[in-house]
Symmetry: D2
């Protein structure tokens, strides 16, 4: 990527915890009040990859709410995620980012055809790019998880989809997919960091190919699943037979509320379960729960109990508890993805970036879930850009 | 390796828990009353490697005690490691193995020069090989951990070592190293499955090279360290900064007694600590304890607490508890090592088999501790034999 | 209670894991191949209470299945709950118990009015008592948990209930309550060791009063809830504010299957939740799950995460994992209850034995859930008999 | 206690984490920016006890360091123990407390007889009481744990002790005991909140009796031991046989440094171990470690593994992890003790206040370690004042 190419990072859900943390973090990195802990692209292995530097990233986004980022950042600081020095250093920067956030799309507040909503979103992206003289924009969905989206024939056929979008009587795309459609129409690459439908619909993937745009997803891998993809290959390599892998997730924050809804949580649980079966090569008993526990605040805790059989049928087990700030785990990966997808776009790559499976619970275009293999693929790919 | 080449597996500590479990397991595999769970060399990746099959392995060994294997096996069955059907199927086979166990070496009971003790051990190995028409013998040390061995100049110089061994007034080698010396003199390859000195002395490694013999070690990786080598690379790959990694091990069985001695445990703790620093690329606070808790019987439990820092300095942690039958974890690896080292020997390999680091806490000749990388190296190497 | 008064212990669900373990245990205690670990009534505090001794207890029961107890005991031994020596010592005794087990009641297989079914069950109890010259019989329900029972007006009015029972067209009592009715009609006291409706219906409690019979329940407290009732008072006494108490239960065995049904599990979860609110004096966030994980066999594991607030709002937490053999925890309490309820009956007590709350998740007639207070009450009451 | 009697709380170690938290907390309670969570004496059970109210407590103390309390409080706020609003509300109050802190005694900096040091400390206490017109002063030792103190004959005999104290060549009392001596000489009651020798020496207890002063100790019970004293009675009441109770403590803060010294830690480990044996009625295998893990900051984490045997010898286990802010757990108890000991003093009680065992790992004058019983005793005693 040529030097001096400014890159936009446009966040769907720009006032949520993950987006706020990404904004605080980017500003803190620029102000040098925080180091790049948690930023994968700052590891030595990526030194030769032509990535936009922190100063070249410009933030904007869509959201439905209007709470100022500064206020959201205060809440996160109060929750213990970062200290007052960081907050003080980024306050003015957050106001600037605030001025780049536009109203998102929600079916309940939109009248008219979905095409007109998409057009509005696209215009927001194009004017953002022009205003800041951006070489390109990466759109990343970090909004709340949607309920699973029923499949429609139009999801498989781009022409049929566009006909339906133009029909004011129909609502064929969930908000995450409408955002992806708008991004592609505006010439932006797209990353689905949630389990929502987003870019997973075949018609949208065809559009991305046609537009020459890369995309990646789905569902950022930041906790329990990260551990599972690091640990399950260990059992396989040692010929130990996992018999059950039970899990419970306690979430305090934003997504906890959303996931308290049993319909919505289905997306998340499906996304988590697919990986485990793929990793272990067979279905095992794997009960999995996500509970909303508000007093945990921004913290999430996962408990996993793995029962396995060893030599001569010996019954053994592994338990782990993972406790972390959900947004502090996710936000640096969002910055990493923006840099890597921008670099891929600059290098002319299009379609699913399968080498980014490292970042996702449910990697698009890849069935490789083993974390060490994903790491090796990512580094090799980044070295080739 | 040509077919029909019978291979000896000679166990130092042949009546201990690991050796007994290996014997029960091998006999159970032959009798088809147990499957190969836990046996790495039975994975599809090793299908093309010319390994001796279970029927081609012949067991023998040295030990200082005379408790019949059958009685030891009853104790292990009683502890819940395997069921009565397995025990019934292997009883007569255990008597046969018993008849191949000879008195080991212990400085307190030996009179005369260490050279004569070594010669006696070598003769045991040679006659074992002749009696069973073995193509080769792999000696594996699974005896109790020794106290750390003070360094002597003779450990670095084979000639000086042999002069000292011939001197009845001196005792220059700890039992594990004397056993390694005897093995090499008898033309046998050697595997150190404990943290004892064994083959780690430079003079012995020179002897192995001279004899054209392969060797491997040290200290089988079966629990806490296995998990550490699977998990630490995950933190590194995600640019998360591990700040402390604290561990406590509760051991019920054999090695628990030995390791209750603070001098002896030093070997084990050093072996464990070296890997962690290598994995994380820096020293972190890493208190580590091994406690003997007799009521746990054959079970060991390890608790690890990993404190790490993420984006913007967020403090997070991972805890895990690993509970397993120590010998059920170790024994199949002993069988795997016998097969792999025999195949390497047959293929003309000599010196440290660095590709076997997968099996060890403190891999000889390698500073690669990352489990996924060790797995890939092992499989690649096995495919080349 | 006068000496030499033989006492019957009649188990509903007499071939289940808990009943089988109780039978094995009673026979092992008599044969002196096992000590009374887990038997509360053998503690010194009960030395002066006139309890039937182990030799005076006679076992019988109802069940719907016909698997011999000996076979069930073999399964439990195989699962590691007790050793082969115990099994060998009790085999013949189990056959005798087997001969005292009669077919239980199930609505699907019974034709005619429920009254006739109850009469059949009562006759089984009366002839059991006569055959063995028993001074009295305690009926204990250890059968699988039933789905919650919809409330009917007849449950509150004994006359109306009996009219309905006589009507072949109606089925007003769930099996557990029909068993309780039959027990009371036969002059037997009754203990509900499950969360099923059993004796909780007011009409049945009135019948018990009328018959001069004592009863106790509900739902044996053997694991997670036992810990909660020991720990929650600690938080209260220290003025620490519990903000959430999340739990996950993994069950391998019998009740695991039953509780995999979301309707049935509702009984159990309600029973567990009531206590927590009572203990903490307010409702807290308390998500709770019960999962069936067959490979755990007879073992159950519970993980609890307690988030609490301390001085100046400091956020802290406690986590625990409890791993045990469900039936080994429950069975000695069943024997204890038989002895204590028999002694209460002999002493002329009638109605709810509120001092037995120590044994139950949902103590009948008491809202004292604090375990230490329950212990003190039990001991004081036992001393008064 | 008559109303309007102002009470001094004099802290040995007045600039440490516990003392600073106590000061912040008392000021926050007065300013009504924090509630009394964690303050036992604010529970309804203590409503009738004539305790000094928060406004009647006056703080002062001894310390060897001069870091302002305000700076220490900033560190604690930064560590997440309390929020910026609390800090802001107490800043000016902390300066006032600062002005009441005097130099403590340390053998390395004192010249002359210990008697003269004691006299200086006593004068500090007397002038503090006069300056603030205090009805009485309670001295509480919250300084760092001392190494175990070798027993001297003078510790048993007050006359001999005073002779030795007057001898400039001798140093017969450790600092904690010198502080206790000075407190008693100044007419102040004394509480040992650490495992240091303090008031445990018989000569000092005789002095307290002679002076008509009450005292209490030793070693505040705030974490692992608190849980042990809540849980161990549960095992006993259920006749379950604890076979081992293993523990590991990870401490980040102040006492962690002190306890990293193996000699000093001996005091603490002895104090912890005594209780467990008393609770279980027999010695069990109980390895116990305290590690200093600086990155944990003000947090401490304890992991306990309890292995127990149930009916028919079934092997089961309980594990728990307790994670909390050490000072947030301890500080409210220090305030509670000041109020309760002042009330006892006002009521004319003298000698060991055995009913305060609720607060201590190693209760002076009592061998009751069961937490529920300690709670009942405390409440009953407080009701009698």
């Amino acid at each position: 990527m040529p030097a001096q190419q400014r890159t936009g990072l446009w966040l769907i859900g720009a006032r949520g915890s993950v987006a706020t943390t990404a904004a605080v973090g980017l500003l803190a990195l620029r102000a040098r009040v925080a180091g790049p802990t948690g930023c994968v692209t700052e590891l030595p292995a990526f030194a030769g990859t032509p990535l936009p530097c922190w100063d070249e990233l410009v933030l904007g986004g869509h959201d439905l709410v209007h709470t100022p980022l500064e206020k959201r950042a205060e809440q996160l600081a109060h929750a213990g995620m970062f200290g007052p020095a960081v907050l003080a250093a980024v306050r003015s920067g957050l106001s600037e980012v605030d001025s780049e956030i536009r109203d998102g799309y929600h079916p309940a507040t939109h009248t008219g055809a979905q095409a007109s909503a998409a057009e509005r979103l696209s215009v927001d992206l194009r004017t953002f790019a022009q205003r800041h003289e951006l070489a390109r924009v990466v759109v990343v969905d970090v909004s709340s998880t949607e309920a699973p989206c029923p499949h429609l024939p139009e999801h498989d056929d781009l022409d049929a989809l566009e006909t339906a979008l133009a029909d004011p009587a129909r609502s064929v795309l969930p908000p995450s997919s409408l955002a992806a459609y708008a991004a592609l129409q505006a010439g932006c690459s797209y990353v689905g960091f949630t389990p929502s439908a987003g870019i997973t619909l075949p018609a949208l993937q065809k559009l991305a190919e046609g537009q020459g745009l890369p995309y990646a997803g789905c569902d950022g891998k930041t906790g329990e699943t990260l551990l599972r993809t690091a640990l399950a290959p260990m059992f396989s390599a040692r010929a130990l037979k996992v018999r059950s892998w039970s899990g419970t997730n306690l979430l305090g924050g934003g997504d906890g509320v959303t996931l308290a809804d049993p319909v919505t949580v289905a997306s998340k649980l499906e996304s988590k379960a697919r990986g485990l079966a793929a990793l272990l090569g067979e279905d095992v008993t794997a009960p999995l729960h996500i509970d909303h526990v508000p007093d945990l605040g921004e913290v999430k805790t996962a408990w996993d109990h793995v029962s396995f059989e060893g030599f001569l049928g010996a019954q053994m087990n592994l338990q782990f508890t993972w406790t972390g700030y959900d947004s502090a785990l996710a936000a640096p990966l969002v910055l990493d993805l923006a840099r890597l997808v921008a670099a891929a776009h600059a290098a002319g790559q299009r379609g699913a970036l399968t080498e980014l499976g490292f970042f996702f619970k449910d990697p698009l275009g890849s069935d490789e879930h083993r974390f060490a293999e994903q790491t090796a693929r990512l580094i090799s790919w980044a070295g080739s850009l």
